[in-house]
């Protein structure tokens, strides 16, 4: 699988509500980060919209399935449009991939549009045609992260 195909695959899992399969794309030591501030460097002493390790990410998916998750039942319908995919660096163990995300979200008579610069760190798994990737780190910088935002109950 090529890098861009992998990112489309990831987006498709989110847009078709296959959150558990999406979670499987992440390595055990993965981090998923949606910073609060522009060019934020530190996730521990500055707040984040989401700052999850693999454990928290799994719990986030579990919450989405809970029958009394009021902001998530039903889940918003989304379209993740991934573009401008570029390889930033490539080493034996990991690749850094930049992309842009445009996302349309609809839930409870509210439609919202999101834009973000995204960076993935991907690790190869398998070889040849069966080869794919696992996500070791995903960072989503929303263009309006510092704005006054209604609650966020989707995954980017």
């Amino acid at each position: 699988m090529k890098v861009d195909e992998f990112l489309y695959h990831e987006a498709r899992l989110l847009d078709t509500g296959q959150l558990e399969a999406w979670l499987e794309l992440f390595t055990d030591d993965a981090t998923y980060w949606v910073p609060l501030e522009k060019e934020q460097r530190d996730p521990l002493e500055t707040s984040s919209i989401i700052h999850d390790d693999r454990t928290l990410l799994e719990l986030r998916v579990k919450q989405a399935r809970h029958p009394r998750a009021h902001a998530r039942q039903p889940l918003a319908r989304t379209v993740h449009q991934v573009g401008n995919v570029m390889v930033l660096s490539e080493e034996d163990s990991e690749m850094r991939i930049a992309s842009t995300l445009q996302l349309v979200e609809f839930r409870a008579e509210k439609q919202r549009v999101w834009g973000a610069l995204v960076e993935h760190r991907l690790r190869r798994v398998g070889e040849g045609k069966a080869g794919s990737f696992r996500i070791a780190h995903k960072r989503v910088d929303l263009v309006n992260s510092e704005g006054e935002l209604d609650g966020i109950a989707i995954l980017f």
């Binding site: 002493e45 500055t46 984040s48 454990t55 719990l59 579990k62 009021h70 935002l149 609650g151």
Partner: protein
């Protein structure tokens, strides 16, 4: 009567004409919390915010006092200061270049020969009353009214707790500001933060996942989110725990919750070496006896009516900005205790992310409920909202303080509406 002892009319949440009256009579008169002195340390430091619907600039003036100016050029009305924070020698209007000093006094006007000099306005309109209490900045749009200490009354104890817990009393706003919004009335947030009957329902999903989270780590093996997992689990405490907590109100509509989270449950009791270090630093700064007294205070959420909610133990403070009858914005701040171990601030940040953040597991369900409330309350088919839990059983304490018969009493809502009615009737 819109406000009765155990019920209120739905129009107080849904009628735009009542909202306009609230902006004039409640937000136009009460002391409002604007922020903290650490946001404006040096002359020229400023930040913008709102007082009700008025855009304002909070600035450290040349004379070292904190000033609050209406962010509106005296000429044609443009906001002179873009939203945000920073440092300024002067505030210069982007439209025609009128400039104002740090006290808001008009300094220079281009094409000045076109005016009769005596007829130029003096400057930016200053908010008439500004005071600080232990570092927190308050202002009132009304020139007359009670002094700040009377207004705060016994709720001062919550600010005292906030500051006393910081070794040497040194606190600063840090770690970023969450700004969240919802399509609902401003009162809905203040009514939610002292409601001990809602977590089991609203937060059922985050309680469930927190119970499935890994056990908080032993010293040296902590997860960065342990503190937040503990809080989410605590939201699932048995009914008896909620009934037993303390719930107090003041005559100005403030309220606070106590005897709920002791440090033993959340930080100290975990045998945390970080907390032990903090305890030592606190005792070095103020003496062992005073340190022990400070740490025995178990206050939880405090509401300062009509625009602020804070958690002194977790150093979280939220300010609500009413935008319209059915739209509100909340800015949520974290505070760092300057002399405390760094890990304590990391705990504050993790707590903010998971509990109070825009994408958090807890707040998102509150916001969903506020929006459902607003949609339900906009229906004219049913008139009344019931606030009668515990009504008739409130306990009188000295200085106008009242205590709910149980921790889940809706006394805090009745107190808020009593204050509301007084503001509206004046």
């Amino acid at each position: 009567m819109l406000v009765q002892p155990d019920r209120v009319h739905r129009s107080v949440y849904a009628d735009p004409a009542i909202f306009d009256l609230e902006m004039e009579r409640v937000f136009g008169r009460a002391w409002l919390v604007l922020g903290h002195e650490s946001q404006v340390r040096a002359p020229g430091d400023y930040f913008t915010t709102r007082m009700g619907r008025e855009p304002v600039i909070v600035v450290r003036r040349e004379d070292k006092e904190v000033g609050v100016l209406i962010n509106r050029c005296a000429h044609r009305g443009s906001m002179v200061c873009a939203e945000g924070r920073g440092h300024a020698e002067r505030f210069v209007c982007p439209y025609h270049g009128w400039s104002y000093d740090r006290g808001g006094v008009l300094q220079a006007v281009p094409f000045a020969s076109g005016y009769d000099k005596g007829k130029l306005p003096a400057g930016l309109k200053a908010v008439p009353r500004v005071k600080t209490y232990r570092g927190f900045i308050f202002a009132s749009l009304s020139a007359q009214g009670e002094d700040l200490e009377t207004f705060l009354g016994h709720a001062r104890a919550s600010f005292d707790d906030f500051v006393d817990r910081a070794p040497g009393g040194e606190l600063e706003v840090a770690g970023g500001v969450f700004k969240h919004a919802y399509n609902g009335n401003w009162k809905l947030m203040l009514e939610n933060h002292l409601d001990g009957a809602h977590p089991a329902w609203v937060h059922a999903s985050s309680v469930a996942v927190a119970r499935a989270a890994p056990e908080p780590g032993k010293p040296g093996e902590e997860h960065y989110y342990d503190i937040a997992v503990r809080q989410m689990r605590q939201n699932g405490a048995p009914d008896a725990v909620w009934e037993a907590i303390g719930m107090w109100t003041t005559p100005h509509g403030h309220g606070y919750m106590g005897d709920y989270h002791s440090d033993d449950r959340l930080v100290a009791g975990m045998g945390s070496p970080v907390f032990e270090e903090y305890r030592k630093i606190l005792a070095q700064k103020c003496g062992q006896k005073e340190a022990d007294r400070i740490l025995r205070v178990t206050l939880w959420n405090t509401i300062i009516y009509p625009n602020c909610s804070f958690m002194s133990q977790f150093r979280q403070l939220r300010i609500i900005h009413p935008i319209a009858v059915d739209r509100s914005v909340v800015h949520a701040y974290s505070f760092r205790m300057k002399n405390a171990p760094a890990q304590m601030f990391r705990d504050t940040v993790a707590f903010a992310n998971v509990v109070n953040g825009t994408g958090s597991w807890v707040l998102t369900d509150d916001l969903e409920v506020y929006e459902r409330l607003q949609r339900g309350l906009s229906s004219g088919a049913v008139d009344w909202v019931y606030v009668g839990r515990g009504h008739g059983r409130d306990v009188e304490e000295p200085n106008g303080v009242r205590r709910g018969a149980t921790g889940t009493s809706e006394i805090f809502m009745r107190a808020q509406f009593a204050a509301w009615l007084r503001y509206l009737s004046q």
